[in-house]
């Protein structure tokens, strides 16, 4: 169990988390490679969102480890993980509803000198230049994502699809090395979904690594270099989408049921109590 190779951004080993007595994620191990889009798929209750919450620090793993660029971040606080360069979106978009869209985005920019209250009180000139630059950058990101008409609007008034776009702009504003996108196209108009796919590829082109959860196979085939399939808290298989979608365990996991027993046998897992609900 050596620390990750150089092109491995994220190294997840034997990770486990339980809600009460039932394991949502158990013995989960995989890596995310630099400059790639890794898709995370699996049926409801597979543990994908729980995994994202552990990677972003909201949940503390019960067992296992997470290394980010070779650094152990297991159980670190969300704020610390964010400062190390992981930015995220949320499964249900979280707006700062009574703030304008642009302020939602600018907020995420790291190292803002004007966040020091003493500077805010006595030395406002010290952050004018930075603030102007950040606002220009945020405006550019919002235009790039097609939100140019909503820059000054209250974030609480955005539609569902616009919220997802704004969350991507906000995550980019943090200048991340790794982006975690939790269902970026859920409930989104197909046209917007295609825009998101294009933008995600462009983001990766800039050297950012992306790990995303998605259910839409069309979207995945457009963006993902590699797909990790989860079921019942474990990694079932991984590989290019075309290959894994033909995999019989994947078919079993998605269609459920009849072949569950066979799937369990083939992955060498003992059925654990309550695992199905995780």
């Amino acid at each position: 169990m050596t620390v990750a190779a150089e092109d491995t951004v994220l190294d997840i080993r034997d990770l486990g988390y339980a809600y009460g007595g039932s394991w949502a994620v158990k013995d989960c191990s995989f890596t995310v490679e630099r400059g790639q889009v890794t898709g995370l798929i699996g049926p409801n209750g597979a543990g994908k969102s729980t995994l994202i919450e552990m990677l972003s620090g909201t949940l503390t793993p019960r067992v296992g480890s997470i290394h980010f660029n070779g650094r152990d971040i297991t159980g670190a606080s969300p704020a610390r993980i964010a400062r190390l360069g992981i930015a995220r979106t949320f499964q249900t978009p979280r707006m700062l509803a009574r703030l304008p869209v642009i302020e939602n985005v600018v907020l995420a920019a790291p190292n803002q000198i004007g966040e020091n209250p003493l500077r805010a009180l006595f030395w406002q000139r010290s952050f004018r230049v930075q603030e102007a630059a950040l606002r220009a950058e945020a405006r550019g990101l919002l235009e790039w994502l097609g939100l140019q008409d909503h820059v000054e609007q209250l974030a609480g008034n955005l539609s569902g699809g616009q919220r997802r776009l704004m969350e991507i702009a906000r995550a980019l504003m943090a200048h991340p090395k790794l982006m975690l996108l939790d269902e970026p196209t859920a409930g989104v108009f197909p046209e917007t979904g295609r825009l998101i796919a294009t933008r995600v590829r462009e983001i990766v082109g800039q050297g950012v690594t992306v790990l995303l959860i998605a259910h839409n196979m069309g979207f995945l085939s457009a963006v993902a270099d590699d797909v990790v399939v989860m079921a019942e808290g474990k990694v079932l298989t991984r590989g290019p989408l075309d290959v894994v979608r033909e995999h019989e365990d994947v078919i079993a996991a998605y269609l459920g049921s009849a072949s569950t027993k066979k799937m369990m046998a083939s992955t060498g897992a003992a059925p654990d109590p309550g695992g199905a609900s995780g």
């Binding site: 969300p78 400062r83 930015a87 703030l99 302020e103 939602n104 600018v106 995420a108 406002q124």
Partner: protein
């Protein structure tokens, strides 16, 4: 008549200082503090015992008994309130979700009220402090002249604190405060532990409370546990919500309209029955106004301005009033 107006203005300015401080905590940052008046009381007591000198009356006792200048007393009162705020915050708020914060602050208010009321060596228990000297010292001065002096002093401090809250609000720090109020999960997820700005604001707000308490005790020259019943914090909160939280104009309006307009003026209702009825009517009116405002105008008389704190926007009083008209 002039005395009536200056007296009203002094109390209005002092109450406004409190509401401006509470607005920093609740309006900007979303910290619901039902113990706010406890910090006012701490400021008042500390300002008094650091300036009044030792007790000369048998059976009347208080701690410290220093004879510092009045302005040092006021500043020390503010600092004491601020440090107490930091302590309460460190022990409670930091570990609790905001839902529970309200309950914790209510408990803090009751603990301090009972401790001060019962433990006589501290601040003379239930009798309280009295004969606190005027800030003008031994100069022969009428109460009319004194209230004139206090109007100037409290208005100047109010202006300073409004400027402070305006500067804090119109900055990236202000954005961080409002973001924390809206959703702490987001600020944490983007590298900003929410307790840091919250602690700052809690301390600054409590400092304002303490200074207001110092001004208050130097004006009315006496203070006892019956001056800071838990109801007072509720009245401040009601003033803030009615005026409009999240902006200082709403704070000022709430302080003057609700506390001054209704509460102080109700003293001049012709008395009928026994004297306690007037106090009861005051509480009833404030409660009723709060219910009506929350039902029909939950954002307050002057809602929060959210657009353009940044300098691209027009500034100045005229532009602000037009903006209020638009958003209303």
């Amino acid at each position: 008549m002039l005395y009536f107006i200056t007296d009203l203005l002094v109390l209005g300015c002092i109450n406004s200082i409190m509401v401006v401080g509470l607005n920093l905590q609740y309006g900007y940052t979303g910290l619901l503090n039902f113990a706010f008046y406890t910090y006012v009381a701490i400021g008042a007591y500390i300002a008094a015992v650091t300036t009044i000198g030792p007790s000369t009356v048998t059976g009347v006792t208080w701690v410290l008994g220093w004879t510092l200048p009045w302005w040092v007393g006021i500043i020390l009162g503010g600092i004491a309130a601020s440090l107490l705020g930091a302590l309460v915050f460190a022990f409670t708020v930091r570990r609790l979700r905001s839902d529970y914060l309200a309950i914790v602050t209510v408990s803090v208010a009751f603990i301090f009220w009972n401790a001060i009321n019962t433990y006589i060596p501290l601040f003379d228990g239930g009798t309280g402090l009295f004969n606190v000297p005027y800030i003008t010292g031994n100069a022969a001065i009428s109460s009319e002249q004194y209230s004139g002096i206090m109007v100037l002093l409290s208005a100047a401090i109010l202006a300073l604190f409004v400027w402070t809250s305006r500067r804090l609000f119109r900055s990236p720090f202000g954005r961080l405060l409002r973001a924390t109020r809206e959703d702490e999960v987001v600020t944490n997820a983007f590298g900003r532990p929410s307790w840091q700005p919250q602690l700052w604001v809690f301390m600054i707000g409590c400092f304002m409370a303490g200074v207001a308490g110092g001004l208050f005790i130097f004006y009315i020259t006496a203070w006892s546990p019956y001056a800071f019943l838990p109801l007072e914090s509720f009245i401040l909160l009601a003033a803030l919500i009615v005026g409009g939280s999240g902006n200082y104009w709403g704070s000022l309006l709430g302080a003057f309209v609700l506390i001054e307009g209704l509460a102080e003026l109700s003293r001049f209702i012709p008395s009928f029955g026994n004297g306690a009825d007037v106090g009861a009517i005051r509480a009833i009116i404030i409660g009723a106004v709060l219910i009506v405002v929350l039902r029909y105008r939950p954002e307050g008389l002057i809602p929060e301005r959210w657009l353009h704190w940044y300098s691209e926007a027009p500034s100045g009083l005229g532009a602000r009033i037009r903006a209020i008209g638009r958003s209303g």
